[in-house]
């Protein structure tokens, strides 16, 4: 819809440009001739054909303008190219004038011959004015396209975020947690109520934080804390957690839901897959403007299903590099039955 409208505008603009340049050229020349005593009718007849030609040339200069975009061409090349073509265009206009007048009226040729240097100057000026107008409209188009691009990018980002959200919240976490709620209803109804509330708070928080571009590490840790509190009801003694985050570190900005899926991985592999369970350690420090986050969990060296981990880590890595322009780092190491994720993010 908008594209059609814009093309129409551009077509109309072309006609206006020819008309404007031709009319100005004609009017000015007629004024000169009339001043020299030529009859108005003859002056118009003499001025119109060369002026129309100049109008077309001025219109055609649009191609030259789009071939030499302002943003990516040196000022020098633009100046040289347009000065040259202005001289050529104006020369052609003077030449046409010179050859047309004798054909029109041999007797009046002398009175219809204006000062050609003035005529040449006028041609140059009109041509350059047309170039200026072309550049103006090209810039407006470029600006609109850039705006469209930004909009498209935003839509894509939002879609990616939604996909990430779906990937981050494992539905089985919800089913198992609801099963725990159902279980507590029978024996410990107050705890069941509390668990339901925790689940609701967790999902509300994940939706709210997921919609933001950046959040503080403190907010992310709060989310992780709520998540772990729910998992503790399910796994009981099998899940132990230690979270140690510097005050300074907790004020750092991070992309939302960066840690949560990694901690979910840690629970899945370090606790749910271990008969005896395990401890999840989360440490964050700020050192020399570098935020450093460690997530540790036990890992079974004999585990067979390591595919899920890879996807989670890849997602986190992608998001980190997107927000930090490649300056952040995420590493996963495994040694002696311990799995460690290290994140380093410049403040």
């Amino acid at each position: 819809m908008s594209t059609t409208r814009r093309t129409l505008t551009r077509g109309a603009l072309a006609l206006y440009a020819i008309a404007a340049v031709a009319a100005t050229a004609t009017a000015s020349s007629v004024f000169f001739l009339w001043a020299r005593g030529a009859s108005a009718g003859l002056a118009i007849a003499a001025a119109l054909p060369p002026s129309l030609l100049l109008g077309f040339i001025a219109l055609a200069s649009r191609f030259l303008c789009s071939a030499l975009p302002l943003r990516s061409t040196s000022r020098m090349s633009i100046a040289v190219a347009h000065a040259g073509s202005a001289a050529a265009a104006s020369g052609l206009w003077v030449l046409t004038w010179k050859s047309w007048v004798p054909i029109l009226n041999r007797q009046a040729a002398a009175s219809l011959a204006p000062d050609y240097s003035v005529l040449f100057g006028l041609g140059v000026l009109l041509y350059l004015a047309a170039v200026a107008v072309h550049y103006l409209f090209l810039e407006i188009d470029a600006l609109r396209e850039a705006e469209d691009e930004v909009l498209r990018y935003r839509v894509l980002t939002r879609e990616a975020e939604l996909r990430a959200f779906k990937a981050q919240v494992d539905p089985h976490f919800l089913f198992n947690s609801l099963n725990a709620v159902a279980s507590l209803c029978g024996s410990r109804p107050l705890e069941a109520r509390e668990m339901a509330q925790r689940l609701a708070d967790f999902f509300r928080l994940i939706l709210r934080l997921g919609a933001l571009e950046r959040i503080t590490l403190g907010e992310e840790i709060d989310l992780v804390d709520r998540y772990l509190a729910i998992e503790k009801v399910r796994f009981g003694d099998r899940l132990t957690t230690h979270i140690n985050v510097d005050d300074e570190a907790s004020r750092c900005m991070v992309p939302p839901l960066l840690l949560q899926p990694l901690v979910e991985n840690a629970v899945r592999h370090g606790v749910a897959s271990m008969v005896e369970g395990g401890t999840i350690d989360i440490v964050a420090t700020l050192d020399n403007h570098m935020l450093r986050i460690l997530i540790d969990n036990p890992a079974d060296p004999d585990r067979v299903d390591a595919r899920g981990e890879g996807i989670g880590l890849e997602n986190a890595r992608g998001r980190l590099s997107a927000v930090s322009e490649g300056r952040a780092m995420l590493q996963a190491r495994e040694a002696e039955g311990q799995f460690r994720v290290v994140i380093e993010l410049p403040r």
Partner: protein, 243 residues
């Protein structure tokens, strides 16, 4: 009286089953297990009528538990993963329950259980279970004569040798005996990593050091640890295609 063993690695999930079963006068819980190892032991010890079995458990999942049972009770799977539901029937489980559990559904399933107990064929389901496992197989479970359970990742298996109606799995210098036809296991292993080099041998190709000509049309595979295994003509064909 129906004797029940409950298996789930999450305490609240076991509690819920216990509560549902308490409402049923015909049922008695003989054991509660928090993992697959305890489950295999409890079934051997108590010979229950019904096994309420979680699928996602550490080290030994519900399917592997079934594979390790000598005598199988009626099995009802309890899982949050509905994608396991179909496989539950493939291993001849009587039914399955989805988490969060519904008491109505639980009652219906228990009705089926009661009709089934007594008419149920209590032969081991092992073969059934393994033959329908997800492929390629990632790990093999073996129960020793002393009842100890070993979980062997396939990457740790050097080779498998047929021995009468059982197989010997060579891994890290020991041979584990398992009651299973060699062809059945061979069909489940990743064909890019394991080759049947002989009627009686399946080898992990990463363990092969070299192949030597032994006699006319007869070759021998020498493994990294020096073990020599016979290679039949068709086995050699299969090896050549892969290498």
């Amino acid at each position: 009286m129906i004797r029940v063993v409950i298996v789930d690695d999450e305490l609240p999930a076991r509690e819920l089953l216990r509560e549902f079963l308490a409402a049923d006068e015909d049922c008695e819980i003989v054991a509660e297990c928090a993992n697959g190892f305890e489950a295999v032991k409890a079934v051997a010890q108590h010979d229950p009528d019904l096994l309420l079995l979680d699928i996602q458990m550490p080290k030994l999942d519900g399917f592997e538990v079934i594979e390790l049972l000598d005598r199988s009770p009626v099995v009802v799977f309890v899982t949050a993963h509905d994608e396991h539901a179909l496989r539950a029937f493939e291993v001849h489980a009587l039914d399955y329950l989805l988490k969060p559990l519904s008491q109505d559904r639980f009652r219906q399933v228990m009705e089926r259980v009661k009709r089934s107990v007594g008419h149920h064929d209590r032969q081991p389901l092992a073969g059934m279970a393994t033959s329908l496992r997800a492929r390629p197989l990632q790990r093999v479970v073996v129960r020793g004569d002393d009842g100890a359970i070993q979980v062997v990742p396939v990457s740790r298996m050097d080779y498998v040798e047929a021995s009468d109606d059982a197989i010997l799995i060579a891994t890290a210098g020991v041979k584990l005996r398992k009651q299973q036809p060699i062809g059945e296991l061979a069909a489940q292993l990743d064909p890019d990593r394991f080759v049947r080099i002989h009627r009686a041998y399946v080898v992990n190709i990463e363990r092969i050091e070299k192949i030597e000509l032994y006699a006319k049309d007869s070759r021998v595979a020498i493994l990294r640890d020096g073990t020599r295994l016979p290679v039949s003509r068709s086995g050699y064909q299969r090896l050549r295609e892969l290498l």
